[in-house]
């Protein structure tokens, strides 16, 4: 019986947690990879499909979390009025669209 905003929250939270898990790994791998070898090795590394997928996933997560985060920030710091609700919805929709844009682009 959940309504829209709750799912937005859940998505935001899950993406946040996922980011919190993956971002350190990303940093670690990136740091290691660059440190260890020359540029061509890095090229090889980014050619690895698994790495590609993980990097794309990170982009998607960032897009999703960004969307949800903007929703929260708008909700909390935007001025409330009756029309605010719909503006938030519109902003959310646009951000989501952008997110899917990235997503499509990432896999293109």
């Amino acid at each position: 019986m959940r309504r829209g905003p709750w799912w937005a929250f859940l998505l935001h939270r899950l993406s946040g947690v996922a980011l919190a898990v993956f971002l350190p790994v990303h940093f670690l791998v990136l740091g290691l990879a660059v440190e260890r070898a020359a540029l061509d090795r890095v090229l090889d590394w980014t050619d690895n499909p698994w790495v590609k997928l993980a990097e794309a996933g990170l982009v998607v997560l960032l897009a999703l979390h960004l969307t949800g985060g903007l929703r929260v920030l708008l909700l909390e710091f935007g001025r409330w009025s009756d029309r605010q609700q719909s503006r938030i919805a519109v902003a959310g929709g646009l951000a989501l669209l952008a997110g899917f844009g990235f997503l499509a682009a990432a896999f293109a």
Binding site: R13, G16, V17, L19, A20, L23, P24, H26, F27, L28, L30, G31, A33, V34, E35, L39, D40, V42, L43, W45, T46, V59, L62, A63, L66, G69, L70, V72, L73, E76, F77, G101, F102, A105, A106, A108
Partner: protein, 108 residues
């Protein structure tokens, strides 16, 4: 008042992260679309004060933002509360900071 401070820190860091992430996503999108190779990216970031600042700030903000967020999730979903959680999250933040700065240093 601790909660109020953590809240403020998380929202401020989120506001910092938002444009940075947008910028990053934009670059990634552009890169993927334009078929930039990893070395081209690295070539751009290497020695760039601008990109150094961008990613440095990103890492700093994320290291503030993520542990506070994770702390909420662990408190609510895993019933982990109190000093132990706070210490763990502080450590998590430090680790994130260290790994992130190392990665930034590597690509610079």
């Amino acid at each position: 008042m601790k909660e109020a401070w953590l809240f403020a820190a998380q929202r401020v860091s989120a506001m910092v992260l938002a444009p940075l992430v947008l910028l990053h996503l934009g670059t990634v999108l552009y890169a993927v679309r334009g078929g930039l190779s990893a070395d081209e990216i690295l070539a751009r970031t290497e020695g760039s004060l601008f990109w150094g600042a961008v990613y440095g700030l990103f890492v700093l903000a994320a290291a503030v933002h993520a542990p506070i967020g994770l702390r909420a999730v662990l408190g609510e979903w895993c019933r982990w509360r109190g000093a132990g959680l706070d210490i763990a999250m502080a450590l998590f933040g430090l680790v994130l900071l260290a790994l992130g700065l190392r990665a930034v240093a590597a690509v610079l």
